[in-house]
Amino acid sequence: MTTLPHSTTKKLGLVIDLDTCVGCQACVTACKGWNDQGYGAPLSDQDPYGAAPSGTFLNRVHSYQITPEDAAPIIVNMPRSCLHCDDAPCVTVCPTGASYKRTEDGIVLVNEDACIGCGLCAWACPYGARELDAAAGVMKKCTLCVDRIYNENLPEQDREPACVRTCPTGARHFGDFADPQSHVSRLSAERGGMALMPELGTKPVNRYLPPRKKDVMQASPLAPLLDIQASGFAGWLDKMLGKIG
C-alpha cells in the first residue's frame, strides 16, 4: 500500500469544456505524440497495420448520445484521462509504491522503475484512466505533461500539457485549482464545473464544464409590415421603401 500526501501545495489539473468539445481527437494524438517520446517508456502500438491494432493512449475521447424525453437528442463528446484525484485509489492500492501523488503539485505519477505491471491500480481506478503498456510492461497514465509544464528547454508559452496546447476549440484549460483566482478555478465556478462520480469519494481535481442548454432559441415571430394579401406587392413596396424615406 502506498500513502497519499495529506495535502499538496498546488492542485494542478484540467478544465474540459463539454459545451465546446467537438470530439475532434486532437488531444488524443497530441498526447500520444508527446508521451511517446516523453516521460517514461514510449506508448507502444501492437499490430499497428494488422487486423486488430491496439496501443497505449493516455487520453481517449468518447461520444455519448443523450435522448431527452422532451427535447431533441444530443451528442456529448467527452475526453477522458486521469483526473489526478486527491484521494486516488490507484495510489493507495499500489503494492510497490510506484504510483504516487506529488506533494508539490498533486500530479499522480507512476515511477516506472518501481512498477511491476501488476495492474491493480488500473483495476482500482473507477475512471479507466490507466493503461498497461504491452511492450514495456509498465502502467502508463496522464502525467499532465510533467516534463513540459516546468521544462526550461521549452518557451514559457509552451509549458502546458500537449493536449491543452493543441486543442483547436480551446476546450481544454490547465491550471492550479488550489488558487481560487486561477483561470481554471474561476472558469469552473462560473460554468458549474463538475467532478466525475463524486459519490465515489475519490475527489477528482479535473473538472468538466457541462453542455449549455440546447435548442432553446426564443424569438417572437416577426410582425409583418402589412397584410400583403390585401395591399398587394405595390402596397408592400410603398411601405418598405417608405422606411428609408
Binding site: 467537438v22 497495420y49 408592400w236
Partner: protein, 930 residues
C-alpha cells in the same frame, strides 16, 4: 514519503523545422521536432496564421505518415494485367523515358488525347500551367466532385465564397449559422472560430441532417432533410421581406438591386438595362433620372420604374414574398416546423438589426463618398459540402448568399469577410481556354468563369471540347472541371477517346470515384482487338493506394515532409480577412527509401518531363532545363511582370511585397520566417472590400488586380439569364433541344429551389444516404495511419430511430442497402441525433484488401465499406439514348448527396459486401512501427 526525483526539464529535440502540414487540405503551420535526424514530434506553429499553434488529430499523427509502410519506393512498370497490381521496379530514367515516349507523339499530333487530372493537388497554378504548355484542354483538379457549387455560387454572386475565399468575423459575430458543414473542411480555423464564439457565449446554429461534431456543440440544431436547404433559406428570406427586416441602404449601395431589368420581349429581355456606353445605370432618387451606377453622391432608387423596366429589387421581393415560400409551405419538405423557421428568421433579424455594431473607422467608397464609421451586422454564415454535393447545390449556394446580402452582413464587421485576393468579381476571372493545336501551348488557363454561351468550351460542330464535358450546355459553369466524368466519358468515347490518362494524387479506383466498381471495370475494359479502352494510365502517388494497381506506370511521390511546395496566391492561398498570405513546404527530412530507386516530388518530375517534351516556359532555347527543380520554379517563375508564385521577400533585396523581381534567396527567407508570409491589409481597408477605395488600391499594389475592380453583388445574375435566353431560342448559339427545359429552369437569374434529381427515385427508395469525413481522417490517407486507424478503424451505417425500429435492427446487425445503382451489405448502428429520413456513414474508411500495406484482415478491409458503390456518375437512362451526368446542371458538381436508398435487415455478418479480390502489394505489408 520519498518521491522519486524526476527530470522536469528534459532535452526536447535537437532542432525544430517549420513547414506546412498536409495531413489534410487545411495547410496549418507545423513545428517538426528532429532528434538525431529523425522526426520525433510534430506540433502546431504558434505564429502561423492558419492554426495559431493548435493542431488537429491528423496533424499530430503525421509522424506516423512519414514512416508509413505503404510509402512507395521506386518507379513501377506494370507487368501483369491492369488491376492485378503486378509491377516491376524500374529506374527513374526508364520511367521518365517511357512517359515521354507515350506523351510526346500526342503533343505533336493530338494534344487532347492526354487527359491530366490532379486530385488533392495544392499546386494547381503549377500543374495547370504545365498542362497549358502541353496544349491539352483536358486538365482540372478535384473541385468538380468536391465543392465547386459553393465556390462558383459565391463567385457568381459575391465575388468570393467560403474557406479560402472568406470566413466569418469570428471576433465580432454574435450569431453564427452553418449549413451542411463537413467537419474536415477548413478544419482548424473553423474549430478555432467556434471556440471563440463559445468563449464569448455567441449563439451557434447548425443546419445539418446529422448532429455530430460542430453540430453537436451548436446551441440550436436544425436537422434538415437533405437537399432542402435552399428551400429553407428562401423561406427565411420570405419572412425577412414580409417583415421589412432587410438592409435597404446596403442593397441600394452595394448590390445590383437598383439596376433595371429589361422587360422588352426579345434578345435583351431579362438582361440589365444599359446606356449608350454599355454601362448599367440606376435611377437617382434625388432627380428621378438615370445616373451612373458608380457616380458620386448618387442615391440609387430601389423602387424605380423606368420606361417600363423595374429594378432587380422589385423582381426579387416579388418572387420571395410569394406564399410558395411561406414557412408553412416548406416545413414538411424541409423536416423543420414552420414555427422554428419563423424563430430562426426572427433571431437573424434581431441580431442583424437590433445588435448592430459600429467601428470608429472612416472609409471612402468607390463612388468617392466618405463614411464616418463602419457599420456591422453581427450575423454570419458558413456552408460547405452539405449544400454543394446536390444537383440543386449551385442555386442553393446562391440562395444562401442572397440571405447574407439582404441582411447586409457581407464584408461588414461581425459578418462574413473576404480573404485576399478575394473579393474578385466574376468579370475579373479568366474564361475557359480549350482550343488545342498540335505542338503548341493552350492560349490561356483551362478553367474559368463563363459569362455567356459564346464562352463555352465547344468545338465548331457544337460538341464538347473537353473530355469531361465541362463548360458545355450540360453544365455551363463547371469552373473546376468535372474529374468524376473523365473515366466514364473516356471509356464511352463520349465525346471522344483519349490515349493517356495522367493522374496525380487521386484515388480514383476507390473512394474518389462516384461508383468504384464501375470505374474499376472501365479502367480494365478491353476493345475487341484486346487493347485497353483507355490505352495508357500514368499515376503519381506517395502511397500504395487502391489506384496504384490500375496504372501502367507509377511515378512515386514523396511524403509531405520530404518535399517543396508552394501554397500560392495564384492558387488556394492561406490568407486571412486582414492579410494576404502564402506559404511553402520544404524537405525537413530527406526522402530515404534504402535499397530502392527512391522517390521524387511530383512537381519536380513534371518539370523534368516538361523539358523532355520540350514544353515552352520550362525549356531554354538550347533544350536545357529552365528550372533545376520545383523549388527553383517557385522562386524564379514569373507569371506576369513582377508576379511569381510567392508574394513575400521579392526583389533583388528581398524587401518587396506582392510585386518585384525574383529573389534567389526567397525560399530561405520563407524558411527563416516560419514557412509563410503575410501582407497585411491597411486599417481603413479591412471591411467593405469590394467597394472600399483603400482596399482596391492596396489590392492593386499587392498584385491581385491590375486596376481597381469595384463592383456590385449580383442578386440578379446576368450570365445565368443569358443562358436562359438561349434556351428560350434567343441568340445564335443554341443549346441542344433535350437540354432546353433544364437550362430554362436551372439557369434562373434569381436563386431558386428545385428538388435534387435523385428525388426521382423517392417512391422506391425512401431514405437519403450521406457520407461525411471525420475530423480525425482525411480521404484514404488517414486510415493507414497507425494511430488514427486505432481511433476509427471501422465505419457503420448510422440509422435514425424510426427506421431502426421499423426494421427491427439489433446491435451487431448488418443491412442490405439498395439504391437505383446497386447494393451493399454493411454494419448498422443506431443514432437518434439524426434526421428521420436519413442514413449516413464516415467516408473513405473502407479499404481494398492488399492496399495501403495493411493486413488483409484489417477491419477497414473486412467490415469497412464505401457508399460509392450505390452512386453512379450517370443518372438513370431516360430512354433517349443520351448519357446524363449525375451532377449539378449548372456547375457539373458531382451530386453524390442526392443518393436515395432502401434498407433490409440481414442479421449478423462479419464482412461487408461487395468483396473485391485482393490486389498484389507494390510494397510489403506493414509490421511494427518503424
Amino acid at each position: 514519503m520519498n518521491q522519486p526525483r524526476i527530470d522536469l526539464s528534459p532535452h526536447v529535440s535537437d532542432e525544430i523545422r517549420k513547414t506546412t502540414c498536409y495531413m489534410c487540405a487545411c495547410r496549418c503551420g507545423i513545428d517538426v521536432h528532429l532528434t538525431s535526424g529523425k522526426v520525433t514530434y510534430i506540433e502546431g506553429n504558434k505564429d502561423h496564421p492558419v492554426n495559431k499553434g493548435v493542431l488537429c488529430a491528423k496533424g499530430a499523427s503525421g509522424i506516423m505518415q512519414v514512416t508509413a509502410p505503404s510509402r512507395l519506393r521506386a518507379p513501377l512498370r506494370r507487368v501483369g494485367p491492369r488491376g492485378s497490381g503486378a509491377f516491376e521496379e524500374i529506374s527513374w530514367e526508364e520511367a521518365l523515358g517511357l512517359a515521354t515516349a507515350w506523351m510526346k507523339p500526342l503533343r505533336e499530333t493530338a494534344p487532347e488525347k492526354l487527359a491530366f487530372f490532379t486530385g488533392r493537388d495544392q499546386s494547381q497554378s503549377f500543374t495547370g500551367w504545365w498542362a497549358q504548355q502541353f496544349g491539352t484542354p483536358n486538365y482540372a483538379a478535384h473541385g468538380g466532385f468536391c465543392s465547386v457549387n459553393m465556390a462558383a455560387g459565391g463567385i457568381y454572386t459575391l465575388g468570393g465564397a467560403f474557406w479560402e475565399f472568406g470566413q466569418p468575423d469570428w471576433d465580432r459575430t454574435k450569431l453564427f449559422v452553418m449549413f451542411g458543414v463537413a467537419e474536415d473542411h477548413d478544419s482548424n480555423p473553423i474549430k478555432i472560430g467556434l471556440g471563440k464564439l463559445k468563449e464569448r457565449g455567441a449563439r451557434v446554429v447548425g443546419v445539418n441532417p446529422i448532429r455530430t461534431g460542430y453540430n453537436a456543440v451548436a446551441d440550436d440544431w436544425y436537422g434538415i432533410t437533405p437537399g432542402t436547404d435552399g428551400l429553407l433559406i428562401l423561406s427565411l428570406i420570405h419572412c425577412l421581406l414580409a417583415a421589412g427586416k432587410i438592409d435597404l441602404a446596403y442593397l441600394a449601395r452595394f448590390t445590383n438591386a437598383p439596376l433595371l431589368v429589361n422587360e422588352t420581349d426579345g434578345p435583351e429581355k431579362g438582361l440589365i438595362v444599359k446606356n449608350a456606353e454599355s454601362q448599367p445605370f440606376v435611377i437617382d432618387k434625388r432627380t428621378g433620372k438615370p445616373a451612373p451606377w458608380d457616380g458620386q453622391g448618387v442615391q440609387p432608387d430601389l423602387g424605380a420604374v423606368w420606361q417600363g423596366h423595374r429594378t432587380v429589387f422589385q423582381h426579387m421581393a416579388e418572387r420571395y414574398l410569394s406564399a410558395d415560400y411561406a414557412p408553412e409551405q416548406v416545413a414538411e419538405r424541409c423536416g423543420i416546423s414552420a414555427n422554428r423557421i419563423r424563430i430562426l428568421a426572427a433571431e437573424l433579424a434581431r441580431v442583424a438589426f437590433d445588435e448592430a455594431i459600429e467601428i470608429d473607422q472612416p472609409w471612402t467608397d468607390f463612388r468617392g463618398d466618405l463614411h464616418e464609421k463602419m457599420t456591422g451586422r453581427p450575423v454570419s454564415f458558413h456552408a460547405m459540402r452539405g449544400i454543394s454535393a446536390h444537383s440543386n447545390g449551385f442555386q442553393t449556394a446562391r440562395a444562401l448568399h442572397l440571405l447574407q446580402i439582404v441582411l447586409g452582413t457581407v464584408e461588414v464587421p461581425g459578418g462574413y469577410r473576404f480573404k485576399p485576393p478575394y473579393p474578385k468579381p466574376v468579370e475579373a476571372h479568366p474564361t475557359p481556354h480549350f482550343v488545342s493545336v498540335p505542338g503548341k501551348p493552350l492560349s490561356g488557363p483551362h478553367l474559368g468563369y463563363v459569362r455567356s454561351p459564346e464562352q463555352l468550351a465547344l468545338l465548331p460542330d457544337g460538341s464538347p471540347a473537353r473530355i469531361d464535358k465541362a463548360f458545355s450546355w450540360e453544365n455551363p459553369f463547371s469552373a473546376h472541371g468535372m474529374m468524376h466524368m473523365v473515366i466514364p466519358n473516356a471509356h464511352a468515347g463520349d465525346p471522344y477517346r483519349i490515349d493517356t490518362l495522367f493522374l496525380y494524387m487521386a484515388n480514383i479506383a476507390w473512394n474518389s470515384s462516384m461508383n468504384t466498381a464501375q470505374v474499376m471495370a472501365m479502367l480494365t475494359d478491353k476493345t475487341a482487338e484486346g487493347d485497353y479502352v483507355i490505352p495508357r494510365i500514368i499515376y503519381s502517388d506517395a502511397y500504395a493506394s487502391e489506384m496504384v494497381a490500375y496504372a501502367d506506370l507509377i511515378l512515386p511521390d514523396t511524403t509531405y515532409l520530404e518535399r517543396h511546395d508552394c501554397i500560392s496566391l495564384l492558387d488556394r492561398p492561406i490568407s486571412e480577412p486582414g492579410a494576404a498570405g502564402d506559404s511553402i513546404r520544404w524537405p525537413v527530412v530527406t526522402p530515404d527509401r534504402p535499397g530502392h530507386e527512391g522517390v521524387r516530388g511530383f512537381q519536380s518530375v513534371l518539370l523534368d518531363l516538361g523539358v523532355r517534351l520540350g514544353l515552352p516556359g520550362m525549356t531554354n532555347p538550347d533544350g536545357s532545363a529552365k528550372f533545376k527543380d520545383y523549388a527553383d520554379y517557385i522562386v524564379n517563375h514569373i507569371r506576369r511582370p513582377g508576379v511569381g508564385p510567392l508574394i513575400g521577400f521579392r526583389g533583388a533585396g528581398g524587401d518587396l511585397e506582392g510585386r518585384g523581381e525574383a529573389n534567389p534567396d526567397q525560399m530561405q527567407a520563407y524558411i527563416d520566417n516560419g514557412g509563410f508570409y503575410q501582407a497585411h491589409v491597411p486599417q481603413e481597408a479591412l471591411f467593405y472590400k469590394p467597394w472600399n477605395k483603400a482596399y482596391q488600391d492596396w489590392a492593386v499594389a499587392t498584385s491581385f488586380y491590375e486596376s481597381p475592380q469595384p463592383y456590385l453583388f449580383n442578386i440578379w445574375s446576368e450570365p445565368m439569364r443569358r443562358f436562359q435566353l438561349a434556351a428560350e431560342g434567343q441568340g445564335f448559339l443554341q443549346p441542344p433541344d433535350h437540354l432546353r427545359a433544364q437550362i430554362r429552369q436551372t439557369m434562373d437569374p434569381l436563386p431558386i429551389w428545385y428538388p435534387p434529381f435523385g428525388e426521382a427515385a423517392e417512391a422506391e427508395y425512401p431514405l437519403h444516404a450521406l457520407t461525411q469525413r471525420p475530423m480525425d481522417m482525411y480521404h484514404s490517407w488517414g486510415t493507414q495511419n497507425a494511430w488514427l486507424r486505432q481511433i476509427r478503424g471501422k465505419n457503420f451505417l448510422y440509422v435514425p430511430t424510426k427506421v431502426w425500429k421499423q426494421h427491427g435492427f439489433d446491435e451487431g446487425d448488418y443491412a442490405r442497402v439498395t439504391s437505383p445503382n446497386g447494393q451493399i451489405v454493411v454494419p448498422v448502428a443506431h443514432m437518434a441525433a439524426l434526421n428521420s429520413e436519413t442514413v449516413w456513414t464516415w467516408n473513405a474508411i473502407g479499404k481494398r484488401k492488399g492496399a495501403w500495406a495493411l493486413d488483409e484482415g484489417a477491419t477497414e478491409a473486412t467490415e469497412g465499406f464505401l457508399l460509392n458503390h450505390l452512386i453512379s456518375e450517370l443518372l438513370p437512362e431516360k430512354g433517349d439514348g443520351l448519357r446524363y451526368s449525375n451532377s449539378d446542371p449548372v456547375t457539373g458538381q458531382a451530386a453524390w448527396f442526392d443518393l436515395r436508398v432502401k434498407l433490409e435487415r440481414v442479421g449478423k455478418r462479419d464482412h461487408s459486401e461487395p468483396v473485391f479480390a485482393p490486389v498484389s502489394r507494390p510494397v510489403p505489408k506493414g509490421e511494427g512501427r518503424t
